[in-house]
């Protein structure tokens, strides 16, 4: 089985989508000769030329507008916001225009664009280049929100997102770019709105997103040696959310830990928690639904402080242990 990195998987998805469909193009800052700030688009300029690998000035609202306007007139753009944090400058175009256009026009327009957004901390990039803002977009009707955790999911979900006839916010993770995994060479899609049971277990359900998925898997290895078997579910798409596997799992284990990097207050964990409470799983809960998430603070620069600002493997192990042993 071929193993490639998360970044290579994304690049392969973009390349294959562009080879297949002339309407697909990539637009963003420094994506051409530079190859993208993180290297995702390296080499694509040579293959597709500057008409389809479009370097822009530093104009995030313009990039988003280019996506909205070209999408509604028949193209299938992929926009890149260099760091997901910078999406703040493009918010109006995404939230007020792209997301609402179809509805405002009585369901008579299609706005098929993908906005790629590298997010997350752990690179020493400090408070304005390290955020996890996915939940802002979950709150916007009209958008879909995707967050792959593995190279396999990165490719399959990106190809699905490009085929979508709706705007998709595609949150990549900077620490995951170099992680490797099995990725088929051919084109394949993973449907949006399909959770993945990453690991089966009977003692605790962990619902994790993005970089917290591999961290939870690592934590599960540690816990397994102590006789604690956790089940890990990665929703993969936050919106639409496939809640059935989550509910089934909670019914089985009776205990739940939600892990995400974004700050806890107002984060997606609260949403998952409410979904569980409102479901038939409520009667099976042995313990309150717990959340382990980023501290309610901007990401600090200092390496040690940065490490402690978001959940790490040891935090997940400790939290899971407390819940399973009932010593919370």
């Amino acid at each position: 089985m071929r193993e490639i990195s998360y970044m290579e998987a994304l690049r392969e998805a973009i390349r294959q989508a562009m080879q297949k469909d002339d309407r697909v193009f990539l637009i963003g800052e420094d994506i051409g000769v530079y190859g993208g700030a993180f290297g995702v688009s390296a080499g694509l300029l040579d293959e597709f030329g500057p008409e389809r690998i479009i370097d822009t000035p530093i104009s995030e609202a313009g990039i988003a507008g280019a996506c909205v306007g070209s999408a509604v007139t028949g193209m299938r753009p992929i926009g890149e916001i260099q760091f997901s944090d910078f999406v703040v400058i493009a918010m109006e175009q995404i939230v007020m225009q792209g997301a609402k256009m179809r509805f405002m026009f009585g369901g008579k327009a299609e706005v098929p664009f993908v906005m790629r957004l590298p997010g997350g901390s752990g690179t020493g990039a400090a408070a304005q280049h390290s955020e996890s803002l996915e939940n802002w977009f979950v709150h916007v009707p009209g958008l879909k929100v995707v967050m792959p955790a593995t190279p396999y999911d990165a490719k399959g979900l990106l190809l699905s997102s490009i085929e979508e006839n709706n705007p998709v916010m595609f949150f990549e993770n900077k620490l995951l770019y170099k992680t490797k995994g099995h990725v088929p060479e051919e084109m394949y899609t993973i449907p949006l709105g399909k959770s993945n049971v990453v690991r089966e277990g009977k003692d605790l359900t962990i619902i994790a997103t993005s970089v917290m998925v591999p961290r939870s898997v690592e934590a599960a290895g540690v816990l397994s040696k102590e006789g604690i078997e956790v089940e890990i579910i990665d929703p993969r798409t936050l919106k639409p959310l496939d809640d059935a596997p989550i509910i089934q799992s909670v019914i089985k284990t009776g205990k739940t830990l939600i892990v995400h990097e974004a700050v806890k207050t107002g984060g997606f964990g609260g949403e998952i928690s409410a979904v569980i409470m409102e479901s038939e799983a409520f009667d099976f809960l042995d313990d309150p639904v717990r959340r382990l998430a980023g501290l309610d603070m901007p990401i600090p620069y200092n390496r040690t402080l940065e490490h402690h600002a978001v959940p790490q493997v040891e935090n997940i192990v400790e939290e899971a242990r407390k819940i399973v042993k009932g010593v919370y």
Partner: protein, 327 residues
């Protein structure tokens, strides 16, 4: 739009007389629609808000006839005139205004978001300058599809001070996108007067910052608008990029229906009313008082018929409330 093959009388050497009469009718229709709309608000027949373009009708009248049927329109919140000139059907426009199911947007958009995607009318706009970055995308799409269409992007003096203005004009300029930036400078961004909001004397002066042509024209002169848009369209279509047109005009009414207009004098409004674009165009094309009265009566009748049509049209079914959010 060319109809008769026999002797064609032209107005100002630009527009066929027959077409000009149609434009005059639509200008009157726009004003009648908006006056009627204001009355309906006063009578409590509609809810929400809207923005009327009374006094600014020449810009709509002069711009869309200078374009091709397959060109694109990105309208503003004050866009009833442009909607009608673009070929909008009065009955279904009125239905949208009243929030009815058979309105252009199934009653979901209303006056501020009315669009007709089928005719490449990509909608009115509730966010000041919100359509400007979109025009980059439309222009890019045209260029990539090689269709030689153009996009007419409308905005006001207020929008010219948004950051989106800069990003949009810069990107359209560097890539020579087929965008016509048509600024309707009606002197006030809600209450903010033009002189207080700009250091430059003309908004078109800003074109030089993007290396594109900028012109300021009399926005109450249909023919001047027509000519400027036509030139900009030719330039855009031939791959030479965008033009910034500033059409100077004035809105007689408040920003929206709740505006008490404390920021200007009645005398100022009266002075501008002397330069009324509709009367001026009627005179230019040789329409006398009796003919004008006929046009007004026809427009009034058409508006009332449309109102009746809309009032008798079905409300959206609540069971369909969630439709149209996702494709």
């Amino acid at each position: 739009m060319a109809k008769s093959k026999k002797k064609v009388e032209m107005v100002g050497g630009l527009i066929e007389k027959e077409k000009a009469l149609d434009l005059l009718y639509k200008m009157v229709l726009t004003r009648t629609f908006e006056e009627n709309a204001l009355e309906m608000f006063s009578l409590g027949k509609v809810h929400g808000t809207m923005h009327v373009s009374i006094g600014q009708e020449a810009i709509a009248a002069g711009s869309s006839p200078a374009l091709r049927d397959d060109d694109y329109l990105l309208n503003t919140h004050r866009g009833h005139g442009h909607f009608l000139m673009w070929g909008g059907d009065l009955n279904h426009m009125m239905c949208e205004f009243l929030g009815k199911e058979n309105g252009y947007c199934r009653g979901r958009g209303g006056s501020m978001h009315i669009a007709d995607v089928e005719s490449n009318n990509l909608g009115a706009q509730g966010i000041v300058a919100g359509n400007m970055p979109i025009s980059v995308g439309v222009g890019l799409s045209i260029k990539m599809r090689k269709t030689e269409q153009v996009v007419l992007t409308l905005f006001g003096d207020g929008a010219s001070n948004e950051g989106a203005f800069h990003e949009s004009l810069n990107m359209a300029s560097i890539w020579n996108l087929p965008v016509i930036y048509l600024c309707e400078n009606n002197q006030y961004a809600m209450s903010m007067a033009f002189e207080k909001a700009f250091k430059v004397e003309q908004i078109s002066d800003r074109a030089s910052a993007y290396g594109i042509p900028g012109v300021t024209i009399d926005g109450n002169d249909v023919l001047a608008v027509y000519q400027a848009v036509q030139e900009a369209a030719e330039r855009a279509r031939s791959g030479h990029g965008p033009t910034l047109i500033e059409a100077v005009t004035y809105r007689y009414k408040g920003h929206s229906k709740s505006d008490r207009q404390l920021y200007r004098t009645r005398d100022e409004v009266k002075q501008w009313m002397k330069k009324d674009p509709i009367k001026r165009f009627a005179k230019e094309i040789g329409v006398d008082d009796a003919q004008f009265k006929e046009i007004e009566d026809r427009a009034y009748k058409d508006i009332k018929n449309a109102q009746e049509f809309a009032e008798n049209s079905p409300e959206p079914d609540v069971a369909t409330i969630m439709e149209g959010i996702y494709a």
